[in-house]
């Protein structure tokens, strides 16, 4: 008889592993990827490919040659970072911007902290914010490249709804006037990807499909996205009720910008979100609040990236002080 395997219990393992989870995230992102390819054509494909390949390549080379340890590229986490970053860039961004962003995301935000699981900030967002402050013109150029099969180019306006509103208010218009001037800014069009924006945020519906997939596969729990969306809705609603001419309405705020992309795919990043449910609620509420405040009072039209990064920094504290409830109560 052959030698038996001996180990402590448990002797079986669930089906989950890191690679499977990352693959599920990629699958969940695929509707958004498809929509961006439909509207932005080759340039979207180019961005996604450059992002995925650069991130994976950077991780492999850093682990192999600098850290000299076994490479963990096969867990697909670097690919997810690359795709997320690509979906966060304006579709017209040149490939080298994507390349630099990917290097920053993996090299600076992930590997310097020790790789997967050690980083404090979401790598894709660090990459995006780095690009946003380094190449502000490219990063806010929402001109629309040629779509695949001549996808409805005309319907896509050249600016994001948020920036239109921001500029409009700066030039002294009220929200109603801005919306009246831009008939494209209806909820229906936002749901079905007819507004300008980064590759991944143009279609709310595609993102919601991904969200549902992640929930079914139990990759994420609904807590964080639900609390973020709820907070954005409530906080922007309060402002809107106080002064509808200066502040946009809550539904507008939910459907525009990276709120959906950020709350479903970025804020739920395992590594940079709290462990306990109570911590997750505080974290998500913080993101929602900061997003609305930055949108309404900050100089950037969009606040999601900054809000998530700021709340990422609080995660170690939240993990320390927001403990899960223990069975049998505290001592």
């Amino acid at each position: 008889m052959r030698n038996l395997i001996i180990s402590p219990s448990p002797h079986i393992h669930g089906r989950e592993n890191t690679r499977r989870i990352m693959a599920d995230v990629l699958i969940a992102l695929s509707p958004a990827m498809l929509v961006s390819v439909w509207f932005f054509g080759l340039s979207a494909i180019k961005l996604i490919l450059v992002g995925a390949v650069t991130c994976a390549g950077a991780e492999y080379l850093i682990q192999k040659h600098i850290l000299r340890r076994e490479s963990s590229v096969s867990d697909l986490s670097a690919v997810v970072t690359g795709v997320l970053l690509a979906l966060n860039l304006p579709p017209s961004a040149p490939w080298w911007v994507m390349f630099i962003g990917a290097l920053i995301a993996i090299g600076v935000a992930k590997m310097t902290f020790g790789g997967l699981g050690q980083n404090i900030f979401n790598p894709a967002l660090v990459g995006r914010v780095f690009l946003l402050v380094s190449f502000p013109v490219i990063m806010t150029d929402w001109s629309v490249p040629q779509g695949l099969f001549g996808g409805s180019v005309d319907a896509l306006s050249g600016a994001t709804p948020l920036s239109m509103v921001k500029e409009g208010i700066a030039s002294g218009l009220t929200v109603e006037q801005i919306l009246a001037q831009n008939p494209d800014l209806s909820y229906g069009q936002m749901l079905f990807a007819r507004v300008g924006g980064s590759a991944g945020e143009v279609s709310a519906l595609a993102l919601i499909a991904g969200f549902i997939y992640l929930l079914i596969r139990r990759v994420i729990k609904p807590t964080i996205p639900a609390v973020i969306l709820g907070t954005v809705f409530v906080v922007s609603g309060i402002f809107w009720l106080s002064d509808a001419s200066r502040f946009t309405d809550p539904v507008f705020n939910l459907l525009t910008g990276g709120v959906l992309l950020g709350s479903v795919f970025m804020a739920t990043d395992y590594v940079t979100s709290p462990m306990s449910t109570s911590g997750q609620i505080v974290y998500a509420a913080g993101i929602g609040l900061l997003t609305v405040l930055i949108r309404f009072f900050g100089s950037y039209p969009e606040g999601m990236s900054f809000a998530i990064l700021i709340m990422n920094a609080t995660v170690p504290l939240l993990n320390k002080y927001m403990r899960p409830k223990r069975f049998g109560g505290n001592k």
């Binding site: 395997i5 219990s9 448990p10 002797h11 393992h13 989950e16 590594v271 306990s276 223990r326 049998g328």
Partner: protein, 444 residues
């Protein structure tokens, strides 16, 4: 509506392959190796010498302390040796080796299949009979039953819970006895309720066993005060603290005992053993063992005498399939891997499970991705990822601060960890050390 415990838990595939295999009597072993350490606490002291003739059911080991239990011979024959024998982990345990000759039982044992319904003994007499018959908890921990039925001074029980959850995958021995001997289990519960002086009894069964629920409901219908509670299929539903929580809604306090909630939990197989001890005067000398695994051509539920070597039950070496890579005594979540297949069965053995390499081999562990799945899965509300980290750093005071001693070693954290980190290995180790440190501290 099925009840369940309030936090954590996982859903392993239940794979009850041997559900429909009726209990069969396993032939007597050629030689029985009866361990003196079949219960939690001090090992029993051998009460026979080499060359003595013993009968089935004869007392051969006496308790050597408060927390200890009687051991009886499960066979009749001649004592061949009183010596340390390797247990399933390969560690030597004082045992009595008996060469089996025929099957002559002690005359006072009632071996008829008739169900004795009238309970003549009073409470203290029941407890002393249970003690005499060496009954221990058959759920896995082998806690001496008579001690559990005698709440410490100042604490009183108000209900008895019979654990028929059998939440571990593969195991079916409790299911089979609930199907085949339901009334005896109910009578065992009634006896224990009398000993505890309580009027309420619950039988908790997971909702993946509708036939057992039906069978136990029918059996319990004639006994007032006993109610079958349907539990949701979720591991570790059969954990003592989880079961109390699911059935009564109460929570055993941290560092506390189940009796602090007024509940006493006994396994279904223990209830059957109690019935046999009290009504039939039969010591605990045999138990139902599920022998299963997808790699086996057929699974069985055997009624096996205590002290039968595993190798005989499995029909080793031919009976062990070539692709069986691990033999587990117990379930796949909390059972012990068998290193020595010649080890004998003990009272609390419930199963022998054979797993293939693909089913059981641990995956290579990678970085913690801080997904928090272990935190969500922990039925005790602990933070396994943190305990694991602290254990690695040897921070005993912080481990204590984070209640490592509350860990019930159910394995949910490790089962669910996508990075394949051996969380429980480290936490179990740290728990042992922390409890040792806490015990060595002077009492306030």
């Amino acid at each position: 509506m099925s009840k369940t415990f309030r936090m954590g838990g996982v859903h392993p595939n239940d794979r009850k392959i041997s559900n429909d295999c009726a209990i069969e009597v396993f032939p007597l072993p050629r030689r029985a190796y009866i361990s003196m350490a079949q219960h939690l606490g001090a090992p029993a002291t051998p009460a026979v010498n080499v060359g003595d003739k013993v009968k089935t059911g004869q007392l051969i080991g006496t308790p050597s302390g408060f927390m200890s239990a009687n051991v009886h011979s499960s066979v009749s024959g001649t004592v061949a040796a009183v010596e340390p024998v390797a247990d399933l982990a390969g560690n030597k345990v004082m045992s009595i080796v008996i060469d089996v000759e025929g099957d002559e039982w002690m005359p006072e044992i009632d071996r008829t299949p008739d169900i004795v319904r009238e309970i003549t003994l009073d409470g203290p007499a029941i407890i002393s009979r249970i003690k005499d018959c060496g009954v221990v908890g058959l759920g896995g921990a082998s806690f001496p039953t008579h001690i559990k039925l005698s709440p410490p001074p100042g604490k009183t029980a108000d209900c008895l819970i019979i654990n028929g959850a059998e939440c571990e995958p593969y195991l079916t021995s409790d299911y089979r006895i609930m199907m085949e001997r339901p009334e005896e289990i109910v009578l065992g519960a009634v006896i224990m309720m009398k000993a505890l002086n309580v009027t309420r009894g619950y039988i908790g069964i997971e909702d993946n066993k509708p036939a057992a629920i039906e069978s136990m409901r029918n059996a319990a219908s004639g006994y007032p005060g006993i109610e079958v509670v349907v539990l949701r299929k979720k591991y570790p539903q059969g954990g003592e603290k989880q079961l109390i929580n699911a059935v009564t809604g109460r929570s055993v306090p941290s560092m506390g005992l189940p009796i602090d909630t007024g509940a006493v939990v006994q396994n279904a197989a223990t209830a059957l053993a109690v019935y046999e001890a009290v009504q039939k005067n039969k010591p605990l000398i045999d138990n139902t063992i599920t022998v299963t695994g997808q790699c086996l051509p057929e699974s069985h539920n055997w009624l096996v005498r205590v002290g039968t070597p595993y190798s005989e039950i499995l029909g080793a070496p031919d009976g062990i399939p070539e692709n069986a890579a691990k033999i587990i005594s117990g379930g796949p979540m909390m059972g012990k891997a068998v290193a020595n297949i010649n080890a004998p069965t003990v009272k609390a053995n419930g199963a022998l499970l054979l797993l293939t390499e693909e089913q059981t081999r641990r995956m290579k562990s990678s970085n913690c991705i801080r997904c928090g799945k272990c935190v969500d899965a922990c039925p005790m509300g602990l933070e396994p990822y943190l305990l694991n980290k602290l254990s690695g750093a040897g921070k005993m005071d912080e481990l204590e601060e984070h209640n490592v001693y509350d860990c019930i070693e159910c394995g949910c954290c490790m089962f669910t960890c996508p990075a394949g980190i051996p969380l429980l290995d480290h936490i179990r180790q740290a728990k042992g050390e922390v409890i040792r440190i806490m015990r060595s501290r002077p009492k306030k």
